[in-house]
C-alpha cells in the first residue's frame, strides 16, 4: 500500500527528514510517535503534498504509483486523506458543499457516477452518527467558529464520508478532552477495514489506549529509530523519549 524509502525532506532549507523508511500494508494501523521536532508533522505534510516541503532524496510508492509525482488533489482522488493537526477556517465556503464537491470530484476521477443531492444527504446522515457530528456544524462555513474539538471531529467526519484508502491523522488527539477523544477514536475504529491503512501521528500514548495500532514507530531526528508492537508505546509512556533516543544512540 505505502512504501517509503530513504526519504529526505527539507523545509525552508532545513533538513527535517533524514532517511526515513516505512512500509505499510493494506488494513494496517501504524502509530508514528516521537518528541517535538522529530519530523512527525513533516512526514504527514509530505504525504499529503503540501507546498514548501521539498523532498530531496528517496521515494514514496503508494498503491503502485509514485506519490511524489501527484498534486495534492490527485492524491485525494487516489484515496489519500490527511486529517489536519490545525484545520484551517475558511469563511464563506460551506462545510457540506465542500464535502459534496470533494466526494464527487473523487468519484468523477475514478470514473464513478457522481452522487445527486439525495444520495449525498443519505451518506452524510449515516456518517454523522459515527462521530456524533452536530447538524448545525454541517451548514456552517468550514471550521469557522468551531471549537478545537469540533474541528477535529469534523476532520474525522470528512474522513468517514470520503472513505480514503490511506488516512494520515496528524496529532488528531491534541487539544481534545477525554470525551471528545473517545468519540473521535470510536469514529476512527469504525473506519478500520482490511482495505484501509491508517497512520496515527501522535506525541502521546493516550490515543493508542483507544485506537490499537498494529505497529508503533519512534521517529527521532528525521529517522525511525525503533519499531515494535503496541507495547512499545506503553514503554515510551513510562520511560519517556529520552530513554529511547539515548539507548539507540549508544
Amino acid at each position: 500500500m505505502l512504501d517509503i524509502k530513504e526519504l529526505h525532506a527539507k523545509v525552508e532549507d532545513k533538513e527535517i527528514l533524514k532517511g526515513l523508511n516505512l512500509n505499510i500494508k493494506a488494513g494496517e494501523v501504524h502509530a508514528i510517535m516521537g518528541p517535538n521536532g522529530s519530523g512527525k508533522s513533516t512526514l504527514a505534510n509530505v504525504l499529503a503534498g503540501r507546498n514548501g516541503y521539498e523532498v530531496t532524496k528517496g521515494s514514496i510508492e503508494y498503491d503502485g504509483k509514485d506519490l511524489l509525482e501527484l498534486e495534492p488533489e490527485e492524491r485525494a482522488w487516489a484515496g489519500v486523506f490527511l486529517a489536519f493537526q490545525y484545520p484551517v477556517e475558511i469563511p464563506g465556503v460551506n462545510n457540506v458543499y465542500l464535502l459534496k464537491a470533494a466526494v464527487n470530484a473523487i468519484r468523477k476521477n475514478r470514473g464513478e457516477q457522481e452522487l445527486d443531492a439525495v444520495e449525498f444527504l443519505a451518506l452524510v446522515k449515516e456518517k454523522m452518527k459515527l462521530v456524533k457530528m452536530k447538524e448545525d456544524l454541517l451548514n456552517r462555513a468550514v471550521n469557522e467558529g468551531f471549537s478545537g474539538g469540533e474541528k477535529k471531529r469534523n476532520e474525522i467526519f470528512q474522513m468517514a464520508v470520503l472513505e480514503p484508502k490511506l488516512a494520515i491523522l496528524d496529532e488528531t488527539d491534541s487539544g481534545l478532552d477525554i470525551d471528545a477523544l473517545k468519540i473521535v477514536s470510536e469514529g476512527v475504529n469504525s473506519l478500520r477495514s482490511p482495505e484501509r491503512s491508517i497512520i496515527l501521528v501522535t506525541h502521546y500514548q493516550r490515543l493508542l489506549d483507544y485506537i490499537k495500532p498494529d505497529h508503533v514507530h519512534v521517529l527521532s531526528n528525521g529517522k525511525i529509530i525503533k519499531s515494535g508492537g503496541p507495547e512499545l508505546a506503553l514503554e515510551l509512556e513510562e520511560k519517556g523519549y529520552d530513554w529511547i533516543v539515548e539507548t539507540e544512540a549508544a
Partner: protein, 448 residues
C-alpha cells in the same frame, strides 16, 4: 480657454430654451461657470491623486440627448432585468428616459416617481417646492467638477418623493442602459430622492453597458432622509469595459434615519465612485458596503466620506476589492468627527485580494476626530489567496483552479452576506461568480 471643456460649453449652448430658462437655469449657469473655471480635476489635487481623468477630458462626447438616441429592444432589456422581481422600474437609454419601457404605475397616494426632466418641466407647485428645496443642495458643485458639470446638464434622471409614514414595499429599480450610438456620448443622470418622516424604500441603481461602446456616464444622486426614514440603496455598476463612469452619491440624514449603501463595481475602464454621508442629527446611521472586482487595465477608485456632525451617530463601512491583471484600484475612506459630536461610533474596513503580481491597490483610511468621547476603528489589508486554505481545499480533492476561484468568491461574498434584500443578493452573487474563471463550477458548488 481650456480646449478640453469647450465641447461641453458648446453643447450647453445648444440645449433647448426650455432647459435654459426654467427655474433652475440660474443654478445651471453658476455650475457651468464653476466648471469652466476649474476644468477637469488634476492629479495634483489630493482628492484625485491616484486617478488621472485625462482620458475623459481628452475625448469629445456629445452631451445633447437628441444625438444619443438609439433603440433597444424589449428582449435586450429583459436580459438585464432582475428575474421575477416585482418592482417599479425606470429605464434610461443612453441617458434618455424611456417611458415605453418603464413601469411606475400603482404608486401609493402622494408618492412620486418620475423622470427628472418631466418633474422639472411640470407646473406643479407642490413638486416644484420640494425640488427647489432639495435639488443641488447635498451634492456640492465645489467639491467635484464632475458634479458641477452634471448640475449644468440636469435633464434626465430619477426623481422620487416618498411622503411621511409611507413604506414602498416594492423596490425601485433604475436601469441606466448604454449602447453604441453614432457618436460617443456623455450622459449626466441626476437622481433626487426625498424621503419623508418614517418612510421606507429600497432603490437599485444599475448602470449597464449592453455592448463594448465608448461613452461617459457622469451620475449624481442626492438623498434626503427626514427623521426615522430608512433607505436601502444598491448601486450595481456594470458599464462597458470601454466606458468611463463617475458616480457621486450624497446623503443628508436627519434624526434616527438609516441609510444602507451597497456599491458594487464590476465594469468600466475608468471608474470613480464618491459617497458622502452627512449624519446631521442624533441617532442617524449609515452603513456602507462595497465591492470592486477589476481585471485587465481597469481603474476603479472608491472615495467615501462620512461627516459625524451630531452626537450619537453611527457609521460602519466594509469595502472589499479583488484585483486581477494589470488593474488598479483606489480606496479612500474618510471619517470626520466634528466638535461636539460625542458618543459617536465609526468603523471602517478595507480588504483587498491581489490575484496578480501586476495589480495595484492604493488604500487609505483617513480619520479626522475633533471630539473626545468616540469609538472609532479602521483597518486596511492587501494580500494574496491564503496558502493554507488553498492546500486544505486541494487536500479535499478540489482541483487548484476551482479552489482558487472558490476562495476568491468566498472573499468577495463576505461583503454580500449582510445584504438584507435577497433578490439583489442573489443577483450579485451570480454576477460575481460570472467574473471568475471556472464560473460554471463555482455556481454548481454554491447553488442548491
Amino acid at each position: 480657454m481650456n480646449t478640453d471643456i469647450q465641447n461641453y460649453l458648446n453643447d450647453f449652448e445648444q440645449l433647448g430654451n426650455d432647459i435654459k430658462t426654467d427655474w433652475f437655469s440660474k443654478q445651471r449657469l453658476s455650475a457651468l461657470s464653476l466648471f469652466k473655471e476649474t476644468g477637469f480635476p488634476s492629479s495634483r489635487q489630493e482628492n484625485w491623486k491616484y486617478t488621472n481623468t485625462r482620458p475623459i477630458a481628452k475625448e469629445t462626447f456629445s452631451n445633447t440627448s437628441t444625438r444619443q438616441s438609439v433603440s433597444i429592444s424589449a428582449e435586450e432589456i429583459d436580459a438585464v432585468r432582475f428575474q421575477d422581481l416585482d418592482c417599479y422600474e425606470l429605464v434610461f437609454i443612453n441617458g434618455v428616459y424611456s417611458r415605453e419601457h418603464s413601469r411606475i404605475d400603482g404608486l401609493a397616494k402622494g408618492t412620486v416617481i418620475d423622470n427628472m426632466a418631466d418633474a422639472l418641466a411640470k407646473d406643479n407647485s407642490k413638486n416644484n417646492e420640494i425640488l427647489k428645496k432639495h435639488l443641488a443642495q447635498y451634492a456640492d458643485n465645489k467639491v467635484s467638477p464632475f458634479t458641477a458639470l452634471n448640475t449644468a446638464f440636469i435633464q434626465h434622471g430619477t426623481y422620487i418623493n416618498v411622503p411621511k409614514n409611507t413604506v414602498i414595499e416594492k423596490p425601485i429599480n433604475i436601469l441606466y442602459l448604454s449602447k453604441e450610438s453614432a457618436k460617443p456620448f456623455a450622459a449626466h443622470p441626476r437622481n433626487l430622492i426625498v424621503m419623508g418622516e418614517h418612510s421606507e424604500a429600497t432603490l437599485i441603481e444599475n448602470y449597464i453597458g449592453l455592448d463594448d461602446a465608448n461613452y461617459f456616464t457622469n451620475a449624481v444622486t442626492e438623498v434626503s432622509l427626514a427623521p426615522s426614514a430608512i433607505m436601502k440603496h444598491y448601486k450595481i455598476q456594470q458599464e462597458s469595459l470601454n466606458a468611463y463612469h463617475i458616480g457621486n452619491l450624497n446623503v443628508m440624514q436627519d434624526k434616527d434615519s438609516r441609510f444602507e449603501s451597497n456599491s458594487i463595481s464590476l465594469g468600466g475602464s475608468l471608474v470613480r465612485n464618491d459617497i458622502h454621508g452627512q449624519l446631521d442629527a442624533e441617532g442617524a446611521s449609515i452603513v456602507m458596503n462595497g465591492l470592486y472586482m477589476t481585471n485587465d487595465k481597469q481603474h476603479v477608485d472608491n472615495h467615501t466620506r462620512v461627516d459625524h456632525l451630531k452626537p450619537n451617530t453611527h457609521s460602519s463601512e466594509n469595502y472589499r476589492g479583488v484585483l486581477n491583471g494589470k488593474s488598479r484600484a483606489v480606496f479612500n475612506g474618510k471619517v470626520v468627527v466634528h466638535p461636539q459630536a460625542q458618543k459617536i461610533e465609526a468603523h471602517q474596513n478595507n480588504a483587498n485580494l491581489l490575484l496578480s503580481d501586476n495589480a495595484e491597490i492604493d488604500t487609505k483610511p483617513e480619520l479626522e476626530i475633533y471630539a473626545d468621547d468616540v469609538k472609532c476603528s479602521h483597518g486596511a489589508t492587501a494580500g494574496q489567496l491564503d496558502q493554507d486554505m488553498l492546500f486544505y481545499l486541494r487536500s479535499r480533492a478540489i482541483d487548484e483552479g476551482t479552489a482558487r476561484s472558490l476562495l476568491t468568491y468566498a472573499f468577495a461574498d463576505e461583503v454580500l452576506k449582510d445584504i438584507s434584500f435577497t433578490p439583489v443578493k442573489n443577483r450579485l452573487e451570480y454576477l460575481i461568480v460570472g467574473q471568475l474563471p471556472d464560473a460554471k463550477l463555482i455556481r454548481e458548488f454554491t447553488n442548491e
